[in-house]
Amino acid sequence: MDSEAAKTARESLDLAFHMSNILEMGLDRHTLSVLIALCDLGLNPEALVAVVKELQRETLSSMTLAPPPPPSS
């Protein structure tokens, strides 16, 4: 990618990250970039959101139900 395109991409990502922060999505920059790439490729955003949610729930549930193993050595 040439520098121009790279710059545009970076700026777009920045903006999207800001927007997502305002909306308190709880996503970090990298995840967001992956999501944007997937959307751009034509996947259904609703489906992506569902995935995100499910996986987040999984992690949370695994957090709550299965308490993290105590930090052991």
Binding site: A16, V51, Q56, P68
Partner: protein, 856 residues
Amino acid sequence: MEDEDQQKIADLIKELVLRLLSQNPTSDSQPLNPKSPSFHKHLRYALRILSARLCPSIAPDSAAIAESIKRRLVTKGKSSQALTFSELYTKFASKTGPGSVNNKWAVLHLLDIVSEDRKNAGAQLGSPLLLLPNLSLNDAESGDGDSRVLRRGGSKEKGWNNGVLVVASDSGNFRDIAFREFANFVKEENEVSEEILVREVLYACQGIDGKYVKFDAGSDGYVLSDSIKVPRATRTMVRKLCELGWLFRKVKGYIWDSMDRFPAEDVGTVGQAFCAALQDELSDYYKLLAVLEAQSMNRIPLISESVNSGNYLSLRRLSVWIAEPMVKMRLMAVLVDKCKVLKGGAMAGAIHLHAQHGDPMVQEFMRRLLRRVCSPLFEMVRSWVLEGELEDIFAEFFVVGQPVKAESLWREGYMLHPGMLPSFISQSLAQRILRTGKSINFLRVCCDDRGWADAATEAAAAAGTSTSRGGLGYGKTDALESLVDEAAKRIDEHLLDVMYNRYKFKEHCLAIKRYLLLGQGDFVQYLMDIVGPQLSEPANTISSFQLAGLLETAIRASNAQYDDPDILDRLRVKMMPHGTGDRGWDVFSLEYDARVPLDTVFTESVMAKYLRIFNFLWKLRRVEHALIGAWKTMKPNCITSNSFTKLQQAVKLQLVSTLRRCQVLWDEMNHFVTNLQYYIMFEVLEFSWSNLSNEMEVAKDLDDLLAAHERYLNSIVEKSLLGERSQTLYKSLFVLFDLILRFRSHADRLYEGIHELQARSESSLPSQDKSKSRKQMKDRSSEPGSWFSEGRKALTQRTNEFLRNMGQDLDSISKEYSSLLENFISQLPEQQHVDLKFLLFRLDFTEFYSRQHPSS
């Protein structure tokens, strides 16, 4: 390329899952191993979700989504964040070109859903709220994401079994709860969802029966069948919306009907234009319906908080959208009803009446429609006015022609058909149109003239249109009017020009006046002199050839010989049909032959009127002639003055008195006849003629000319006491005339007798030869021989007797005359409709007659 994409997608998904799973902030477990079975499990799960929902359920409109996000932020009270968001969005959206995000809407939608969920989850702390349908990790079920059916609940439930989740019972969500309850309720009530109903209604609006909404011929409308359980409000709404379908059916039915009748040539051009215009309007209507149908499939994000978002296009929204087409369709249906039985100009007029409406939308619509409907009519008007052509196969035009002879072409050839006259063409305009076309036809047929084509082109140029099709239309009635005016002006001018110059109308009128109305004095005098003796014979012994010869002689002997030979050619003698006992005087008349095109003016009835006037004038002339003849014999001459010196005084006195009485009576009669003659000549004939001349100068078209001539004749007829209301006067006048003629013969006899006596008294010697050479006396006269045997005394006696008898006759005539004349004069003021005061004045300027019997 696609494989590459797929590979990319797979990679990205893996990456995503990895990151999400390792997002766990508290996880201090080992970093996730991409190869662990749990990772794979999650990956498979993710893939299943992704493949389950392949198409988004909203329209890809990123701006709308951004709007909804902003609004949500605002409602949450975070307006500053909303501002920031909108800034960011604008910047984001403005990024185009390589390196930017193509499906921005997708990204926004992502953000949108997430934030929505977050919002709904925001009230809760710690307990996850999920509004996703049930998808268990281990089952292979794909869910239907749209319907969010929620169970009423008051408690916090966190069931993970195959039920669905949640609803918190806290107070902040009362509205939400209420909406959700309502949605539930609605769902239960409706057997058929609103979506389907909307689609059915849209079908009905095109005249197609749907599954639930069908056309019911009994109640004549589209109804939702009663068996379907639908709340009453919905039912009413559906019925109201289906009115449009009913109207559509009516209009479409009419169009199909008309089109079926086209080949049968039952529907006129105006009807065809009407159908075409309706079809155009319907195509607009179809476009609208197509858009609505597309809308009914789509969802767009909702701005309100209504949960029953179902479809964008609800029944109520549909009713708003079809309000305008409903108005138009109603209009069309009304017009269709009106025009079922009409055609041609009547149809155009009926539609025009409906265009008188205050609503600008209706006016615009009607104007469009009318422009098309009236175009055949205007075309017909144009071709009639500029070319005189009447192409009217379906009898739609308001000018109808009928085949007549050339001479009645003007009066009866073309007429207005008031039934077909549209209401936006006024009566006077229609008259002008009729006259213009008539003039062209008249010129073409009767006058053999081609010059009108130039006039027509000029007119068209002056009015700004062309002589070809188009240019005129409904709504431009003033353009039509100006075209008609210009054409009328020029063509009328041309017509009058042709009439006056080529056909010498004025000259012929003058000729008729001079010959038929006895204007050419010397000719009339001569004619009377020659023809007079012939006419005293019984009518059936007179030959018209002889009279024609005499007419020729008369013409050649007078100034009439210098007249135009064409005019003289047309003058003829006519013998009217006679019965027995008629004298020539009663049946003689002159005739003038007016040919095409002048016989439009001088029709049969007009010539009959001229004939009547001629008869009257001829009689008057005859009486005058008779009196003048009497005068010739009554002139004092040596015979009457210095004779009778040998007679006795008494006889002389008697003679003188008789003569005087005769003279006096003659004077009276002469006075009467002369004044009557002058009255007729100056007050009636010349006066009317000067009026006619003036009117001919200012006449603008043939109708004017005809009317002027009509007036001229009528005034002559009325003033000469020939009219219907002057019958009694007329009769008494004729009795007077007869009396005068009788007087003439008496006077003749008197003078003959005197001459005879003269002769007798001069020659005292009997002479049979001389007596035989005397004229024969008509009344009592004895044989010549008896005179002499008696001698002078007998002569005196005879003379006395003769004179006495004559005196008596004269007295009786005189009395009769006075009484008749008084009667006549007294009747004159009773004539209200014509002004006879000049006649009265002339006859009675000293009031001699009216003072004789003041009581009458």
